[in-house]
């Protein structure tokens, strides 16, 4: 049935809000090589040279005190905001809802830096990079690395960019772990820390999901002990790993709202074992699109870096870990996030307050699950903007 909508005689003039896009952005790289540039990793191994892919948005001011470092999560990259070109169907960077002119990470005010972390597969040296010693991809010869190592590399990038001190470090999930590590490793360089939807250590449940994902990759015959050519990935295993991941990123409510129990053909049961429900379709789509843009060995290493992150184990007690921090913190969690549950954020808040730090905390209402930090439609942006303005005022006084 078509609905007849009666138009009013005169339509009110609606002016869309001024939307200003970032200038087309591009990913740049810097390679740290030469004597003294060897990276000493927590695993005891070394890496040399190290290339880092990064993007910047906005301008570093004369006082060089308006830089904000954005740390990405497991499958992210340096492309955090804006567009490479101006094609209509191009997807913007992964945190475009937050970064840009007039947005919470306002590029008219702040100099925003985003880099692909150490061991990534989007331009920074990682398992899929060519090992200069052999001329072949590192694969499983790549050394194990940790969140702490990622932060060391980001610090070198800041030095290269001439940024002595950060107004803020911000990131969600694995990005949030980097934020915590930043405030601990380089307290003198951080004026404010914004860990979102994150934890001081993964729950055994989350480690279990990571292990199932890794097993999915390693049991794919195409994985071949990590020795595969980059155009013949273990696609089934990597796709399966991503499907498992996506189940953990959503919430029960979000799945119910998005897919309900709807069938793909719209009719009903097809009595087949291939995709029949829309939720299955969604997972398969996520899996196959991930395979086109991500490297399987990298997935193995990054999930391990997440598993190994444990501030309590590293420093004895959680509050001891933060005892050297000086900056204000803004901790945010999401009500329906069961992978990095609000309870873990509250533990962070408790430990931070115990050592007398200036802590803000908000458990943001959302039914989107862990993925909420990447999505618009809740108050995370306002909260982040308010905190950054406070940091700016504090820096000025």
């Amino acid at each position: 049935m078509t609905q007849i909508v009666k138009r009013p005689e005169t339509l009110p003039e609606i002016r869309p809000p001024e939307v200003r896009r970032l200038e087309p952005v591009r990913t740049q790289t810097v390679t740290f090589e030469g004597p003294g540039e060897t990276l000493h990793l927590e695993s005891g191994q070394t890496l040399h040279p190290v290339t880092v892919a990064y993007e910047t948005y906005g301008q570093l001011n004369d006082a060089r005190d308006n830089a904000v470092l954005v740390c990405h999560a497991l499958s992210g990259d340096a492309h955090a905001a804006g567009y490479y070109g101006l094609e209509k169907d191009e997807k913007p960077g992964w945190w475009d809802v937050l970064i840009g002119p007039g947005k919470p990470l306002d590029t008219d005010k702040y100099f925003v830096i985003s880099s692909n972390f150490l061991g990534g597969c989007k331009g920074t040296t990682g398992p899929s990079s060519i090992d200069p010693a052999t001329g072949k991809p590192y694969g499983l010869d790549f050394p194990f690395y940790t969140v702490k190592d990622m932060v060391q590399v980001q610090r070198r990038l800041l030095k290269h960019l001439g940024v002595p001190r950060l107004l803020a470090v911000i990131g969600g999930s694995l990005g949030g772990m980097q934020v915590l590590q930043w405030a601990i490793s380089f307290p003198e360089m951080v004026r404010g820390a914004i860990p979102i939807a994150t934890t001081a250590r993964l729950s055994p449940q989350a480690i279990a999901f990571n292990e199932v994902a890794r097993q999915a990759i390693m049991s794919d015959p195409d994985w071949n002990g990590g020795d595969y050519s980059l155009d013949a990935q273990p696609e089934r295993g990597l796709g399966l790993a991503r499907m498992i991941g996506h189940i953990t990123y959503l919430s029960e409510q979000a799945m119910l709202r998005k897919f309900s129990r709807r069938f793909i053909n719209g009719q009903g049961r097809s009595f087949c074992l291939t995709k029949d429900f829309q939720v299955e379709n969604y997972l398969h789509h996520q899996g196959s699109s991930f395979v086109r843009r991500f490297d399987a060995n990298t997935y193995l290493y990054i999930t391990r870096a997440m598993d190994y992150f444990d501030l309590e184990a590293a420093y004895g007690r959680l509050s001891t870990a933060f005892s050297g921090c000086r900056c204000p913190f803004l901790v945010a969690s999401f009500t329906s996030d069961w992978l990095f549950p609000p309870e873990q954020s509250r533990e962070l808040v408790q430990a931070l307050r115990r050592v007398g730090l200036d802590v803000s905390y908000c458990n943001i209402e959302s039914d989107q699950g862990h993925d909420a930090f990447l999505l618009p439609g809740h108050r995370m942006g306002d909260v982040v903007a308010g905190f950054l303005e406070r940091l700016t005022r504090m820096a000025a006084s």
């Binding site: 307050r353 802590v359 306002d382 303005e389």
Partner: protein
Amino acid sequence: MNAHCVTPQQVDWSRSRPRDRALDRSIVSLVPQGARVLDLGCGNGDLLLRLKADREVEERGVELEPGAVAECLSRGLSVIQADLEESLADLREGAFDVVVLNQVLLATARPLHLLTEALRVGRRVLVSFPNFTYWRIRSQIVFKGRLPVNPTLPYQWYDTPNIRLATVKDFRALCQEKRWKVHKELFVNLDRQDHPRTVRFWPNMRAALALFALERGQG
């Protein structure tokens, strides 16, 4: 949260806004310049913003209602979303110069414990609450036989966040019993525009709202 407590989502806090803001000027007058202030149940941060502007305080807030917390943070305030009592457990003795309990004491399950904890973490504690023996309330009960709904108690019995009732005399008796030092008492009623008018005599009968400034140490 205990089953018998009112969950914050059920309360329309806008109804008590005039009352909650009525004592702001008095509270500000009791806060020293540059003090470290903890506002327990800070709502959307109106009082903290005023304290920052007028007294340049170092502010911290605690609030349970998520929307109000988000508003505080958007306004650049340092606030955590937490249960009031639980939030105090992490704080050291004397961590704050002033702790504010503005119109929240009667909505808590363990007000005595909260006051004791507030006096542990703060040198000075400012407590305000509606006085249940205010003559208008008395007459409503006596003549109408109904529980009062008025500007200082703006909720029906079934939707009120206040699970306690207190009077000026009750509070004085408590302070005496616990040997809390009362630095200052301030009593007001509200005029037709909800502006506070100071009450000097017979506050237990004539004041709609009470504000006590307690200080640590023996009285």
